[in-house]
C-alpha cells in the first residue's frame, strides 16, 4: 500500500488551491487548443515552455498535464460539431458523431464522448497508478545496455511507424539526431558540427527547434495553402435532459469499458498512438453491435462515438507509462513534456519515478483532478468552444507566430535565436509539404544525446564489443518485442487502411476520412439540395 500512500500524498499536493488553479488553467487552454484548428497539444506545450522559467516544476507539469488531457476532449467536440476531425485520433469520432449531430442528437454525442472520456481517463489513470510503479521498479534495475535497447525501440517505432512512409520517418529522426549533435560533446568536451560559430557551441536548444517545427513550420505551411470557405456548425439543441438519456447510457457503458481496455495497452506500446486505438475500438464496436444498432453504424450509432472516445483518452494515459517510468516519449506531446522535465534539470530516464516521486505522483493526481474538471466544464462550455472556432485565421496564425518568437527569444534572450527559429521553421514547412512527419525529429532531438551517452557507456563497459549490446537477456527480449511490435503495427496499419478505404467507398463519409471541409455549395451539413432558382452564386 506504499504506492497508495504516495498517491494520496500526490492528491494532497494537487488539491492545494494554487495547483487546482493551474490545473484549471491547463485544461481550459488544452480544450481551447484542442478545439482550435491549427494548434495541437504538442505545439501548445512547446509554445508555453517559457512559463517554465518562472513557475516551479510541479505547477508547470500540472499545467502541461492539463493541456495534454484537455486537448483530447477538445478534439472530440470539433469532430462532432464540425465533421472535421481536429486530430487524427478523432477521425473515427467524426464518422458517427457528426451523423448524430445532424440527426439532432449532437448533445447526446457530446455527452457520451465527454462521459466516456471521463470514465476511460479515470480508469486508465488508476491503471497508470498501479502499473507505473512496477514498471519503474523494473526500470531502475536496468543498465545502459538495456536502456540503449529501449531507446532503439523508441527510435524505430516512432520513426518508422508514426508517419505514412518509413523512409521519411527515419529521415526525420536522422535530422533530429543530427541537430542534437551540434555543440560540445558531453563526455570529451570536443566541439562537434559547430563550424567555429560561438552561437552553435552551446548547441541548438530543444525548445527552439520544437517551437520552430510545431509552430512556425505549421503557420508557414497553412499560409501556403490557406483554406477558404467556412464550415457550417451544427447547433446543439435541447436542454440538459436530452444529453444522455437512459437508452443512450445503456448503449454507451459497455463501449466505454471496452474502449478503455483497448486504448490503455495500445497507448503504452509505441505502436502508432491513439489513432490505432480509436480505430480498433470502432471496428470492434461495429462488429459487436446487433440488429437495429448495427444498421445505425455509418448513420450515427452512439456506440461508435462512445468506444473510440474512451479508447482515445485511455491511450493518452497509456502513453504516460513509458514516459514516466522509462523516460521514453512515444508521441510528440509526450516528447514535449519530457523537455519540460529537462528544463528543470530533472533527470529523465528510469530513475524519474524513484528520484522525483513527489512530482510524478502529483502529476498523476492532477490527472484525476483534471479529468473531473473536464467533465464538469466541457459540456456547459460548448458555446464558448464554438465561439473560439470563429476566430479569423489571420489572427490565429499571427498569434501563433508571436507566441513562437516569444518562446524562442526567452530561451537565451538573444535575437539570433529568433533567426534560428525561422530557419528551422522553414525546414519544418518543407517537411510538412513533402510528407515528412515531425514527431520523430523531436524525439530524436531529445533522446539523441541520452542515447549516445548510454551507448558509449555500454561500449566502454564491454570494451568496445558491440555484441554485448544484444547479449543481455533483458536487452535481447526488448529487441524481440520490437520485432513483434513492428509486425503487429504493420498488420494494424494495413487493416486500418483497408477500413478507411471501405469507409471512403461508402461515398458520403469520404469527406470525414480525408478531413476535407465543405466547399460552398457542397456544404457538409446540407440536408436538402438547394434550389438553384433565383440565386446568383458569385464566388469570387
Amino acid at each position: 500500500m506504499d504506492n497508495f500512500f504516495l498517491l494520496m500524498e500526490g492528491f494532497a499536493t494537487a488539491m492545494q488551491p494554487i495547483y487546482l488553479l493551474f490545473a484549471l488553467g491547463g485544461v481550459l487552454v488544452g480544450t481551447a487548443v484542442g478545439v482550435l484548428p491549427g494548434i495541437g497539444p504538442a505545439m501548445t506545450v512547446a509554445l508555453l515552455m517559457p512559463i517554465t522559467y518562472s513557475l516551479e516544476p510541479t505547477a508547470a507539469i500540472i499545467v502541461f498535464a492539463g493541456i495534454y488531457y484537455g486537448g483530447m476532449y477538445g478534439g472530440s467536440t470539433t469532430s462532432i460539431l464540425l465533421n472535421t476531425p481536429g486530430e487524427s485520433s478523432s477521425i473515427v469520432t467524426a464518422l458517427e458523431g457528426n451523423k448524430m449531430a445532424k440527426a439532432g442528437r449532437g448533445a447526446a454525442a457530446l455527452a457520451t464522448a465527454a462521459v466516456g472520456s471521463f470514465v476511460a481517463g479515470t480508469i486508465a489513470t488508476v491503471l497508470l497508478s498501479f502499473v507505473a510503479p512496477y514498471v519503474a521498479a523494473f526500470a531502475v534495475q536496468i543498465g545502459p545496455v538495456e536502456y540503449v535497447a529501449l531507446m532503439v525501440v523508441a527510435f524505430l517505432t516512432v520513426g518508422a511507424l508514426l508517419g505514412s512512409s518509413v523512409l521519411r520517418g527515419l529521415a526525420s529522426l536522422g535530422l533530429g539526431l543530427f541537430i542534437a549533435l551540434v555543440g560540445f560533446d558531453a563526455l570529451t568536451a570536443q566541439q562537434r558540427y559547430t563550424f567555429g560559430s560561438p552561437f552553435l557551441a552551446d548547441g541548438i536548444d530543444v525548445v527552439l527547434v520544437a517551437v520552430a517545427l510545431f509552430a512556425v513550420g505549421e503557420a508557414l505551411y497553412v499560409a501556403s495553402r490557406l483554406r477558404h470557405g467556412p464550415i457550417k456548425i451544427i447547433p446543439v439543441t435541447g436542454g440538459w435532459t436530452s444529453w444522455l438519456r437512459k437508452e443512450d447510457l445503456r448503449r454507451s457503458w459497455k463501449p466505454w469499458l471496452r474502449g478503455t481496455l483497448i486504448g490503455f495497452p495500445v497507448g503504452t506500446i509505441p505502436a502508432g498512438g491513439a489513432d490505432v486505438a480509436t480505430f480498433l475500438s470502432y471496428a470492434s464496436e461495429r462488429k459487436l453491435a446487433k440488429g437495429e444498432h448495427k444498421q445505425q453504424f455509418g448513420k450515427g450509432a452512439i456506440e461508435g462515438v462512445a468506444g473510440p472516445e474512451a479508447a482515445n483518452n485511455a491511450a493518452a494515459a497509456g502513453v504516460l507509462v513509458p514516459l514516466l517510468t522509462l523516460g521514453i516519449p512515444t508521441t510528440a506531446t509526450a516528447a514535449m513534456m519530457l523537455v519540460a522535465f529537462q528544463r528543470y534539470q530533472i533527470p529523465v530516464g528510469p530513475q524519474l519515478f524513484e528520484s522525483n516521486s513527489t512530482l510524478v505522483w502529483a502529476l498523476i493526481a492532477s490527472l484525476y483532478v483534471g479529468n473531473l474538471m473536464l467533465l464538469v466544464l466541457n459540456l456547459p462550455l460548448v458555446g464558448i468552444w464554438v465561439k473560439i472556432l470563429q476566430i479569423p485565421r489571420p489572427y490565429l496564425y499571427a498569434g501563433i507566430l508571436v507566441f513562437a518568437v516569444l518562446g524562442a527569444f526567452s530561451v537565451n534572450f538573444t535575437p539570433i535565436d529568433v533567426i534560428i527559429l525561422l530557419i528551422v521553421g522553414i525546414l519544418g514547412f518543407f517537411m510538412r509539404r513533402y510528407g515528412y512527419p515531425i514527431a520523430p525529429m523531436v524525439v530524436g532531438l531529445i533522446l539523441g544525446p541520452i542515447f549516445e551517452s548510454q551507448l558509449r557507456r555500454s561500449l566502454a563497459i564491454s570494451q568496445g564489443d558491440p555484441v554485448a549490446l544484444v547479449q543481455s537477456p533483458v536487452a535481447a527480449t526488448i529487441y524481440v518485442v520490437l520485432v513483434v511490435i513492428f509486425a503487429l503495427s504493420l498488420l494494424l496499419k494495413r487493416r486500418q487502411r483497408q477500413f478507411e478505404a471501405m469507409v471512403a467507398a461508402n461515398g458520403d463519409a469520404a469527406d470525414v476520412v480525408r478531413g476535407t471541409a465543405a466547399v460552398p455549395g457542397a456544404d457538409a451539413a446540407v440536408v436538402t439540395p438547394a434550389d438553384p432558382h433565383n440565386r446568383e452564386d458569385t464566388d469570387r
Binding site: L82, H228, P230, I233, V386, R393, D531, R535, T538, D539
Partner: protein
C-alpha cells in the same frame, strides 16, 4: 424600378430584417436584392447562410410576391463593403440592415458592420431591430 439592398444573416434578426424590407419594397414598388456574404477567413461563420438557409429564404421571399434576387457569395470584401458596393452598383434607393444590441466594449473589440454601412452608404439606411 428602384432597388432595395438587404443585408441578411441566417437568424431571427435576419428574418425580421427581410420582412421589414419586404414591406418597404411593397410600399416603394421596388425590387429586393438580398445579400449574404463571407470572407471565408475562419473555420466557422454563423453569419454565413448555408444552402438550406438560402432555400428557406428563397421560399419565404417567393411567397411574398415581391421581385427579388439573392446574392450569396464568398468575397474578399467585408460584409459591410459588399452591401455598400452593391447598393452603389445598382443605384439602390435604400439599404435595410439588422441592428444588434452591442455593449460599447463589444463594439470596440469586434467593430460593427452596421456602423460601417451607416457611415459609408450614399443612400438611406433602414436599421431594423428585433421586436
Amino acid at each position: 424600378m428602384s432597388t432595395i439592398v438587404v443585408g441578411y444573416v441566417p437568424n431571427a434578426l435576419g428574418e425580421a430584417t427581410v420582412s421589414q424590407a419586404v414591406e418597404e419594397a411593397r410600399r416603394r414598388e421596388a425590387e429586393l436584392v438580398v445579400i449574404n456574404t463571407t470572407r471565408a477567413d475562419r473555420l466557422v461563420n454563423p453569419a454565413y447562410a448555408d444552402d438550406e438557409d438560402v432555400s428557406k429564404l428563397d421560399a419565404l421571399l417567393r411567397a411574398t410576391g415581391v421581385p427579388f434576387s439573392v446574392r450569396h457569395s464568398i468575397s474578399e470584401a467585408t460584409a459591410a463593403e459588399e452591401v455598400v458596393d452593391t447598393a452603389e452598383e445598382l443605384g439602390a434607393e435604400l439599404i435595410v440592415i439588422g441592428l444588434r444590441h452591442r455593449t460599447p466594449v463589444g463594439k470596440l473589440i469586434m467593430g460593427s458592420t452596421a456602423q460601417t454601412i451607416l457611415l459609408s452608404a450614399r443612400c438611406n439606411v433602414l436599421a431594423v431591430k428585433l421586436p
